[in-house]
């Protein structure tokens, strides 16, 4: 934005870079020590990612195919289609190496760090999927890697902690606050400002300061690029709706990006409704992570975006049964698309997500991540309540649920969910 445009939209600021703004959201709200690193990254993003300098994108595409397993299929979900009397298609990001869409971004950024001459990568992680993907990419590209993970998440996503360690990454538990994704991001930012000159911070979603939201979206956009093509080939037309879960919003933006100009395609971002949409201002706790649905504008982790915050502007602790959605912020571009009315935010609570987890597992033979289960929870609620999502719906299967089995068994039992298989016979004699 040029100097003359200064202050055009109230809080819009006098930045000199042209991009990094999505409507009133975005920007670079970071400590000064990080600004030169962001400028360096902007430059690298433009040259290597946008302009394919030194064949960066060619190498990325080769590696995401040969190492990552792309392209992923778009497959018809036969029993769900029958259940809902519609054509339900699944975009299978759970089949990407590592078991989630996260590798699309992690591989891109670790490779970029190499091109930039950085010696080390660091990452935050919530569910552990991004940490795992970064650890894999770092091992693959021979880069030292350290991951920061909130203590609560270390405890509820243990399989991923083991996977990161086994791939050779250091895992640093973060003992601040509630010990989830918010604290992990803050701590990784701090570590980045200590070591910024030789370290790249591989941020795990479309959040943070510019250029991260745009760059992570570009690495994830392969999801909708493929899905759009596949839909045309297999269905002869575009789908009527795309449904995707949203934490920070990277699988969401990835699944939506190439459909955004297609006005006939409705886009649904499914947030974690947690245990309730009510907020406890006094305790500073929102028992959900429904940022797009209930939050309001503010500044967190380097960006102006939509947040869960109290009336003073203190950030509230979020909650979700799914670690990867358990975050008080959301990507600025997604916040903007919601403001514009292009994306519809909806919520699904913990219990409905667990039911959807079991439904997809038994109906389709696909065990989804708890994050992903929220997308299927919405699909179910929409069809049950008679809401018309259209004739063909694509659901983004952002990841697989192996990491969640312990949580799912425990939470299922706690709720006495009838739809779930009985696991009690396995309990005596030392666990599963």
């Amino acid at each position: 934005m040029s100097e003359t445009e200064r202050g055009r939209e109230g809080e819009r600021t006098d930045r000199t870079t042209a991009d990094g703004q999505f409507g009133r959201y975005g920007g670079q709200y970071v400590p000064e020590a990080l600004m030169p690193a962001l400028e360096e990254l902007e430059d690298a993003y433009e040259r290597y990612v946008l302009e394919n300098e030194d064949g960066f994108m060619d190498e990325f595409e080769r590696r995401i195919r040969d190492f990552g397993g792309r392209p992923t299929p778009l497959g018809r979900a036969d029993r769900l289609s029958e259940r809902y009397d519609s054509e339900i298609y699944l975009k299978r990001e759970d089949l990407v190496h590592g078991g989630a869409h996260k590798l699309n971004n992690a591989l891109g950024q670790v490779l970029l760090a190499k091109y930039m001459g950085k010696e080390r990568v660091i990452a935050e992680t919530g569910a552990g999927q991004h940490g795992t993907a970064t650890a894999m990419a770092a091992a693959h590209l021979d880069m030292p890697c350290e991951v920061y993970m909130g203590r609560t998440d270390v405890n509820r996503q243990r399989p991923n902690v083991f996977r990161m360690r086994i791939n050779g990454a250091e895992v640093n538990p973060v003992d601040i606050g509630r010990g989830t994704l918010k604290e992990a991001i803050s701590e990784t930012m701090r570590e980045w400002s200590r070591t910024v000159e030789r370290t790249h911070y591989v941020i795990g979603s479309v959040v943070g300061p510019h250029p991260f939201p745009a760059m992570v979206r570009d690495f994830q956009a392969v999801i909708s690029e493929e899905a759009r093509e596949q839909a045309r080939e297999q269905l002869g037309s575009l789908p009527d709706a795309v449904v995707s879960c949203a934490g920070g919003g990277s699988n969401t933006m990835g699944a939506f990006h190439h459909f955004v100009p297609d006005d006939s395609v409705d886009l649904y971002a499914v947030e974690a409704g947690g245990s309730s949409l009510e907020v406890d201002e006094e305790a500073g706790v929102a028992p959900n992570s429904a940022t797009l649905s209930t939050g309001d504008e503010g500044v967190l982790h380097g960006a102006r975006t939509t947040l869960l915050q109290d009336s003073d502007g203190q950030i509230m602790e979020s909650h979700s049964v799914s670690a990867g959605l358990d975050y008080s912020g959301v990507g600025p571009e997604l916040a903007h698309l919601v403001d514009e009315g292009r994306v519809t935010p909806v919520t699904v609570d913990d219990t409905a997500a667990l039911e959807a987890f079991h439904r997809l597992s038994t109906d389709e033979g696909i065990i989804p991540a708890l994050e992903t289960s929220h997308a299927f929870g919405y699909l179910h609620e929409a069809f049950e309540s008679g809401e018309d999502l259209g004739e063909t719906v694509v659901v983004n299967v952002s990841g697989r649920g192996d990491k969640d089995l312990e949580t799912v068994i425990e939470e299922t039992e706690k709720r006495g969910l009838e739809s779930a298989p009985d696991m009690s016979v396995f309990e005596t004699g030392g666990g599963i």
């Binding site: 200064r6 202050g7 109230g10 809080e11 600021t13 006098d14 930045r15 000199t16 870079t17 920007g27 670079q28 709200y29 970071v30 400590p31 000064e32 020590a33 600004m35 030169p36 690193a37 400028e39 601040i176 606050g177 918010k182 803050s186 930012m189 701090r190 400002s193 200590r194 070591t195 910024v196 000159e197 500073g284 503010g298 500044v299 967190l300 982790h301 380097g302 947040l307 915050q309 009336s311 003073d312 502007g313 203190q314 950030i315």
Partner: protein, 297 residues
């Protein structure tokens, strides 16, 4: 600052008001200024009043008052601890302003906080309400660690309107264009970050400090160095390297934290803070005295 730069700043319309409050810049007159930081409300509102007054007694020339934010992205574990204690004890922006009104000290006070609290305050869309209230209670300026010069337009405007200072942090990584952009927007003093990383008291004093001071040598605005200063001897070395002042946070917060953990009487902790303040002020003064007389242009 060179004439060209001064003209450029004038053209951008903020030059006149950038000299708005003289109080902060004057606090550095003669060099060797001691600028302590404490998180307000740590561990309680009342104790915190005593502590800040103790720092003034111990020789503070200007005080940075931290308004606690739930996500202190630039702070190390020491100040994070202070922020958590203060928030748990009920500190809010309104309580903070009350605190500043009630405080009985006669040195300039600067508010250090994160942008979201400034942005959300009051009814205005943007930082204006916060700045207006800050001016009312007698604050002289702001340090906002997550607000680089590029994003500071609206806050700079509000500061100009109410005659308050906006202090920027110069990091060891800040060079070239960025320095110039900052020079156009800064007022009061610059906060020279002595080393990379989050805040926290350290054993050594970084070489990065000397380099940073050199880069800023021709800025007329006072330079205060912070991040990691812990003892009178550190203070002396940094003042002797050409800093107009030293900023100390974590080493003081440590004393508050200890007092809290060991359940010491508030007066005892206050005395210890005053004593530490005297040590740091004396060091800074010695350092400043070792410098050759400045030439005045």
């Amino acid at each position: 600052m060179g004439d060209d730069a001064a003209d450029a700043a004038g053209a951008s319309g903020s030059a006149d008001s950038r000299t708005g409050t003289d109080a902060t810049a004057t606090a550095f007159d003669g060099g060797g200024a001691f600028v302590p930081y404490l998180a307000v409300g740590d561990p309680t509102y009342e104790a915190s009043l005593e502590y800040v007054e103790a720092l003034a007694r111990g020789g503070a020339d200007l005080i940075e008052l931290g308004l606690p934010f739930s996500e202190p992205m630039a702070e190390g574990p020491t100040i994070q601890g202070a922020v958590t204690r203060a928030l748990e004890a009920g500190m809010t922006p309104d309580r903070f302003f009350e605190f500043v009104s009630e405080l009985d000290v006669d040195v300039p006070l600067v508010c250090m906080t994160y942008y979201n609290l400034i942005y959300q305050y009051g009814s205005s869309d943007g930082p204006r309400s916060f700045v207006e209230r800050a001016a009312e209670v007698g604050l002289e300026g702001f340090v906002v660690p997550d607000l680089p010069a590029e994003e500071a337009g609206p806050l700079r405007e509000a500061c100009d309107e109410f005659g308050l200072d906006l202090i920027f942090i110069v990091a060891p990584t800040t060079r070239g264009d960025r320095l110039e952009r900052m020079m156009e927007r800064v007022s009061g003093y610059v906060y020279v970050q002595a080393r990379l990383g989050a805040t926290g008291a350290r054993e050594d004093v970084s070489d990065q400090t000397g380099e940073s001071l050199e880069r800023l040598a021709d800025w007329e605005i006072p330079k205060a160095v912070g991040f990691g200063i812990k003892t009178g001897e550190h203070a002396e070395r940094i003042a002797a390297a050409g800093a107009d002042g030293i900023i100390v946070g974590s080493a003081l917060v440590d004393i508050v934290a200890e007092g809290h953990e060991d359940d010491r009487p508030v007066e005892e902790t206050a005395d210890r803070l005053a004593e530490k303040a005297r040590e740091l002020k004396a060091g800074a003064t010695r350092g400043a005295e070792s410098l050759p007389e400045p030439e005045h242009p």
